[in-house]
């Protein structure tokens, strides 16, 4: 709670986030490169799937992050609705494009992996694939609502409500898709040795997500300030 009220002041947030934003972005990128290098050059090929399984090092963490980013947005939306915290709206809005991008990336890499492994680019029978597609649509709706509303305050409320409605419905959607699916791809029986680059990349993604979200937030706050200045200048004549 103390942290929340501390950052209710955008000035404090701007001062504190200046270094974190770039720091996380650079650190995250470096860790991702490290993890990919580990995955490509150090770990031996998978016993069954061979080299094609290496795409898992970027795919699986992307899927984790797509859920994490949505959970983050839902948390921020809840804070925004309950406490009307100004920064929470900005946080949820800023995280959305990053989350949508990583979800799209996960879908594409999954599709690329699916072709040599399942023999098809797209498999409607797989519950997780379809659930993630729906999640992607929810991201798109969320972003669209922000852009369609005339005043930022109303947009913030509407987007927060939509985000929470999506969060409540996601388990039901997942359950129903699961029921609908017949073909289940069990998670990989990978050895610990095969898995650790995945965790490295996941950490990198997380840092990069934090960094990009902070950068977006900063841009958003500066934008608001610039608009206020412009309005003030207009009012002054």
């Amino acid at each position: 709670m103390a942290v929340m009220s501390f950052f209710a002041n955008p000035h404090r947030f701007m001062a504190a986030s200046k270094w974190f934003a770039w720091g996380f972005t650079v650190l995250g990128s470096a860790v991702i490169v490290l993890g990919i290098c580990l995955g490509l050059f150090v770990v031996p090929p998978d016993a069954v799937q061979g080299d094609s399984a290496r795409i898992m090092f970027v795919h699986v963490p992307a899927m984790w992050l797509s859920l994490f980013a949505y959970a983050f947005m839902a948390g921020a939306s809840l804070i925004s609705i309950v406490w009307r915290h100004a920064l929470a709206d900005v946080a949820a809005k800023s995280a959305a494009p990053v989350g949508a991008a990583v979800t799209a990336f996960g879908l594409i890499t999954g599709s690329i992996w699916g072709y040599p492994t399942w023999g098809t680019w797209w498999e409607w029978g797989d519950a997780r694939l379809v659930s993630v597609l729906i999640l992607f649509f929810i991201y798109l709706g969320y972003i669209a609502i922000w852009q369609a509303m005339e005043t930022p305050q109303k947009a913030a409320r509407a987007a927060a409500i939509l985000c929470l409605a999506g969060a409540v419905n996601l388990p039901i959607i997942h359950f129903s898709v699961n029921w609908f699916a017949t073909l289940h791809q069990v998670s990989m029986n990978a050895t610990a040795e095969f898995k650790y680059p995945m965790y490295v990349v996941a950490l990198g993604y997380l840092a990069l997500f934090g960094g990009l979200t902070l950068l977006n937030m900063r841009a958003e706050i500066m934008n608001t300030r610039a608009e206020m200045l412009a309005q003030r200048r207009q009012a002054a004549g």
Binding site: I145, M149, R157, A158, V168, N169, S176, V177
Partner: protein, 217 residues
């Protein structure tokens, strides 16, 4: 309650507004044979699914005007000051529109069902399934309707916002219809459809009310 009766009258008398989705439902469903061919086996494969999609889209049609008209002419402001909770308003309006449009949709559904080569004996079940399905579509749709009420071009956005929420109803309802068409056990998917519909009825007025309160601020 008076909100409910007013809405019901308006929806009925609104220049054929309630009948329009029914016509759309029937016309869209009738396009199916032109797309998949008039072969009976093809129709039996595509029919129930296409019918269910047509039902979802027809339920989406009235959503754009569900709250918008009342927001524009200030009726919602009057409702807000009347002491009735906004949740009650959202529930009453959605329910009234469902009665005016959703029930006729369900009544027309068996005709389309038989034309698409569904077994006529299952018609009562098709009506029941369509009632549950359209109720779910209407109430989940009311969230999108409330969110976009203040926008001038909210129609397409409603679809983008609402269609992901339609997925469970889509899956269970279509599964129930397919089971009925093939003579299988439809009870389980039908009960799941009912569960989703009840969940929508129970929760969506709260989300819609929150959005409406923002819209009238």
């Amino acid at each position: 309650m008076s909100v409910f009766t007013r809405e019901l009258k308006l929806a009925w008398s609104g220049g054929g507004g309630a009948a329009l989705p029914v016509g759309f439902f029937f016309a869209a469903g009738s396009l199916t044979p032109f797309a998949v061919g008039n072969d009976i086996s093809n129709l039996q494969i595509a029919g129930p699914g296409v019918m269910w999609i047509a039902l979802a889209l027809s339920s989406l049609l009235p959503m754009e005007r569900l709250f918008q008209a009342d927001l524009e002419d200030g009726t919602l402001d009057a409702y807000a000051g009347s002491g009735v909770g906004m949740e009650g308003i959202a529930l009453a309006k959605t329910l009234a529109h469902w009665i005016a449009t959703g029930i006729p949709l369900a009544i027309v559904a068996p005709m389309l069902w038989i034309m698409l080569q569904g077994p006529p004996a299952t018609s009562p079940f098709v009506i029941a399934a369509s009632l549950m399905g359209s109720a779910a579509f209407f109430f989940f749709g009311s969230i999108g309707a409330a969110l976009t009420a203040g926008m001038r071009r909210g129609g397409l956005l409603i679809a983008l916002v609402t269609l992901p929420l339609y997925v469970p109803t889509m899956i269970f309802g279509a599964a129930a219809l397919y089971a009925a068409a093939s003579g299988g056990d439809w009870a389980q998917p039908a009960m799941l459809t009912a569960a989703v519909a009840l969940f929508g009825i129970a929760t969506s007025p709260f989300a819609a009310a929150m959005a409406l309160r923002t819209a009238i601020d």
